[in-house]
């Protein structure tokens, strides 16, 4: 093993599922390894809440099933983690925010339930940005920032991260993990778990995946249920998959997708196995390259990767053609406005009355609301809410657009 302080100790296990089935590795052993890894790499600050006790119990049950030939699914016995915006019954779900710092949901998100029904073992809830708003570096959570595992001075600096609201970081020699599903990406990259769920609204699964060197998949909206996924932008949010390999991502997607009666925006597909064939044949597949994406400020390295990918497709027999997405130039503005609007709306429920942080100021209902929300939300979130409410005012152009949409 290379002793360089900048080299990550990778955890290679492509045949892990097979090893589990054959009994070479027991589920409990696997979970223990993951648990040790998580403890050892605590300084990366990827996890909010761990569920090791419960995991141990589930590991034993899973092992029994596998031993007796009754494995429920490929995922039976596989340790996974979810971003801390997925509701988990009885397990703290904070959204890395003060407003939900001590919130313990009374139900579990559908996609998490589905994975657990397959026998996958929930190991932890993961850090992300404070309610998903902040810079894209995953530095804005109340638990402190998550660090990129690939360039981290493990040996030189064994520091414990101070978890506090004021974000006093002991060490400064670290790199971002990307966000907002940074914790999930780091956990997968370092082998703390073998697969993780993040969420993706505007790249929140794909970006940290890219920065941490793992596979990040944003499934099509409507494929997986959002019931239990604490929303940011209902129109765009999806549960995202982070894994080591594309095959793993396909397996996890297949396990968690499907129409859910509790989510009216999900659809049913006739075939939802998502099994990738061993030999992939893409002859005749039409691949479009949007012209507008070639923006003048695109970095050379990115352009090269893009071209390389296009070439790969072409050489494999696909038909690579230029296409036009003429409204691309407006997309960012639309996204910003619609996001702010939905965020302002979705945050309206955080008043400390039924759940969440409640202020001590009880002088009047209005004062209670104002104080709870001021204390519970950070500046960035408050800023987004203001912007969103502004856009929703009666006199705004947005309202005119909404009304035009209905004619």
């Amino acid at each position: 093993m290379h002793r360089s302080s900048y080299r990550l100790q990778a955890y290679q296990d492509p045949k892990l599922a097979k090893e589990l089935r054959s009994g070479e590795v027991s589920v409990s052993e696997l979970c223990n390894r993951c648990k040790e890894r998580a403890s050892k790499l605590n300084s990366l600050n990827a996890l909010v809440t761990t569920t090791f006790e419960q995991a141990e119990k589930h590991a034993l049950e899973s092992n029994q099933r596998i031993q007796s030939g009754n494995a429920r699914h490929i995922l039976d016995g596989i340790p996974f983690a979810v971003k801390d915006n997925f509701s988990t019954k009885g397990i703290r779900t904070t959204c890395a925010s003060k407003i939900l710092q001590n919130y313990i949901p009374a139900y579990t998100a559908t996609v998490v339930e589905k994975l657990e029904e397959c026998g996958a073992i929930l190991m932890a809830k993961q850090i992300w940005m404070n309610l998903q708003w902040g810079d894209s570096g995953c530095t804005d959570s109340i638990f402190g920032p998550t660090r990129n595992p690939w360039l981290y001075p493990y040996k030189e600096r064994e520091v414990t991260v101070q978890r506090s609201d004021t974000q006093e970081v002991q060490d400064t020699d670290w790199f971002i993990s990307g966000g907002s599903s940074g914790g999930s990406a780091v956990a997968v990259a370092t082998g703390m778990v073998l697969g993780a769920l993040g969420s993706d609204t505007g790249g929140s699964t794909r970006m940290p995946a890219s920065i941490c060197g793992v596979v990040g998949l944003k499934p099509t909206y409507g494929l997986s249920s959002r019931h239990g996924l604490i929303p940011l932008v209902n129109s765009v949010d999806v549960p995202g998959v982070l894994s080591k390999t594309v095959d793993d991502a396909a397996v996890i997607l297949g396990a968690m997708c499907g129409a859910d009666p509790l989510d009216s925006t999900t659809v049913s597909l006739p075939d939802q196995s998502f099994q990738l064939p061993d030999e992939i044949d893409i002859k005749g597949l039409k691949v479009g390259i949007p012209q507008e994406y070639h923006s003048p400020r695109l970095e050379e390295e990115v352009l090269q990767s893009w071209s390389k990918a296009a070439d790969l497709f072409e050489n494999a027999g696909a038909k690579v053609i230029p296409v036009s997405l003429p409204h691309t130039q407006y997309s960012l503005a639309c996204y910003s406005v619609l996001c702010a609007v939905e965020v302002a709306s979705n945050m309206a429920r955080y008043d400390g009355i039924e759940f969440g942080h409640r202020s001590q100021d009880h002088s009047s209902t209005e004062a209670l609301y104002a104080a709870s929300r001021h204390e519970g939300f950070n500046q960035v979130v408050r800023g987004r809410i203001f912007a969103g409410n502004f856009f929703l005012l009666r006199r705004s152009v947005l309202q005119i657009c909404f009304n035009l949409m209905t004619t």
């Binding site: 139900y107 019931h227 209902n234 609007v341 709306s345 309206a348 039924e354 009666r394």
Partner: protein
């Protein structure tokens, strides 16, 4: 334009313009967007699902029955059904609305452009109704809020979320009413219709039907005045009184040189309107499309086959065919088929179940003596029900027994008084057959002249003085003798028969 009622003020004539916004609670088993139960007067916070409490991550799921209920209501009010309608969020902060917004239909409601024709009685005796038409602007589906109770003493607010999320149909009328009577009559007819089609129980006292009135006044020929809103009127009587009070109040304000403030007012116990505290006049609700609910698409016979999800799809035409007979149609039909007066038909239809009972009794009775039967239903039976606080449905007497009583009454086998006694006994729980009771309680009429003569003879023999008076001076004392006869026979002799026999007897005695 409908006939407007003119009100006299100190400075001249005034006209009033009234529109109503009515919230009708849908009589469904579960709430509009969640599976928690709907029940009146349950212990606080017992009927609250995760979605109702706005727990993060929960999503709305549309209740099919609620949609069907609003379509039925819209059809009953001759509305146009919008085959595609949308849901929106209406934002405001209040303790009884956990999400910080209400899901409603602001841009495109489920129905629009309907109307209701109903009777208004301007005369005290309620004999000459005039027809009045009110147009319905739209009907929309929306969530009800929870309830908050303010404890001034302890300086706290108690929140009960049982009602949060219950389905409501909001009916918005055009300002087509001109006085309290018209508005009250509208609400009453609406109640009857909703009860009939089963979409809302219409009980204002329980809060199942809540009326907000928009009222303004103006001089004839001038444009509409500034309007005020009177909220949460909870009885038909208060609809009339509150509106009349508010009209008077506005006229007084304007006649004394003041201006009417556009505001929201509530009702005090005496039916006077008072300004509401803490109510912002112009609140920006920051409407936004509800992103978690796709557009609501409805089908009809021509389009139902185009949907891939036939089990879940709603066919408006199927609902139209399921529509029960509406109250006004029933009134007309009863008048035509049974020859009863419209006024009696109105009374029959007003009491739920009574019209059906009447029709059943008509069919059972061999003679079509509907006149007598209608009176018997409206007076005798109804009296028994009301005395015991029962609805027709709760009546303990099966139709067959009522029919037996009526046919005995018709045939003269029993007198009206005996029929009354029979009713009372049966209503109080007597389970014997009608025939048995008549025998045991000796209720049958005495029809044989011989028998009648015996009673008359007894009376005459006991009261020789009265006979003397009759024979010499005053024929009217026969009534006293009749009284004795009735008493002795326990009212079982038909009065006319008794009188004839008595007169004959007295005549014979006189001749002796």
């Amino acid at each position: 334009m409908a006939a407007r009622n003119v009100m006299k003020g100190k400075t001249g004539d005034w006209l009033a313009v009234i529109g109503l916004e009515i919230h009708a609670q849908i009589a469904s088993h579960s709430k509009l967007f969640s599976g928690s139960k709907v029940k009146f007067m349950a212990p606080p916070n017992q009927l609250v699902s995760f979605f109702d409490a706005a727990l993060p991550g929960t999503l709305p799921v549309l209740n099919k029955y609620c949609v069907e209920a609003s379509i039925l209501t819209a059809l009953a009010l001759s509305c146009k059904i919008n085959k595609k309608s949308l849901f929106d969020r209406k934002h405001y902060f209040y303790a009884d609305m956990p999400a910080g917004y209400q899901i409603t239909q602001q841009r495109k409601p489920i129905a629009s452009n309907g109307h209701l024709l109903f009777n208004v009685y301007d005369d005290v005796k309620r004999e000459k109704p005039r027809r009045h038409r009110v147009n319905i602007k739209q009907i929309q589906l929306e969530q009800d809020s929870g309830k908050s109770l303010h404890d001034e003493e302890k300086q706290q607010t108690l929140v009960d979320l049982n009602r949060a999320g219950v389905g409501l149909m909001e009916l918005v009328t055009e300002p087509d009413m001109s006085n309290g009577k018209e508005a009250a009559a509208f609400v009453q007819e609406l109640q009857t219709i909703l009860e009939r089609i089963g979409t809302c129980n219409g009980k204002m006292a329980e809060g199942a039907l809540r009326v907000d009135a928009n009222i303004s006044v103006n001089k004839p020929g001038e444009p509409h005045g500034v309007r005020t809103e009177v909220k949460n009127i909870n009885s038909v009587r208060f609809v009339k009184n509150a509106i009349e009070y508010e009209i008077r109040r506005q006229i007084d304000v304007l006649e004394s040189g003041g201006t009417v403030v556009m505001e929201t007012r509530s009702l005090d116990d005496t039916g006077c309107t008072i300004p509401m505290r803490d109510k912002e006049d112009v609140l920006d609700y920051r409407f936004m499309p509800e992103p978690n609910l796709p557009p609501l698409v409805l089908y009809d016979d021509t389009t139902i086959n185009s949907t891939i999800c036939q089990e879940k799809a709603i066919n408006v035409d199927t609902l139209r065919r399921r529509m029960p007979e509406l109250p006004e149609d029933q009134r007309q039909r009863l008048t035509e088929d049974y020859g009863i007066t419209y006024s009696n038909a109105v009374k029959l239809v007003n009491e739920e179940g009574l019209a059906d009972l009447f029709e059943q009794l008509c069919t059972a009775s061999s003679r079509k003596e509907t006149k007598r039967l209608i009176n018997w239903c409206l007076i005798d039976i109804l009296k028994c029900l009301h005395q015991r606080n029962l609805t027709v449905k709760q009546s303990p007497i099966p139709v067959e027994k009522l029919s037996d009583i009526f046919s005995s009454l018709q045939s003269g086998e029993i007198s009206a008084k005996s029929a009354q006694k029979l009713l009372e006994l049966l209503f109080d729980g007597d389970s014997r057959s009608v025939s048995e009771i008549m025998d045991v309680e000796n209720l049958r009429q005495i029809t044989s002249e011989e028998e009648v003569l015996k009673f008359c003879t007894k009376a005459v023999n006991e009261e020789p003085d009265l006979v003397e008076v009759y024979q010499s001076r005053n024929k009217k004392v026969i009534n006293k003798l009749m009284g004795i006869v009735q008493m002795k026979s326990k009212g079982r002799i038909e009065p006319q028969l008794a009188k004839r026999i008595m007169e004959e007897l007295l005549e014979r005695r006189r001749r002796r």
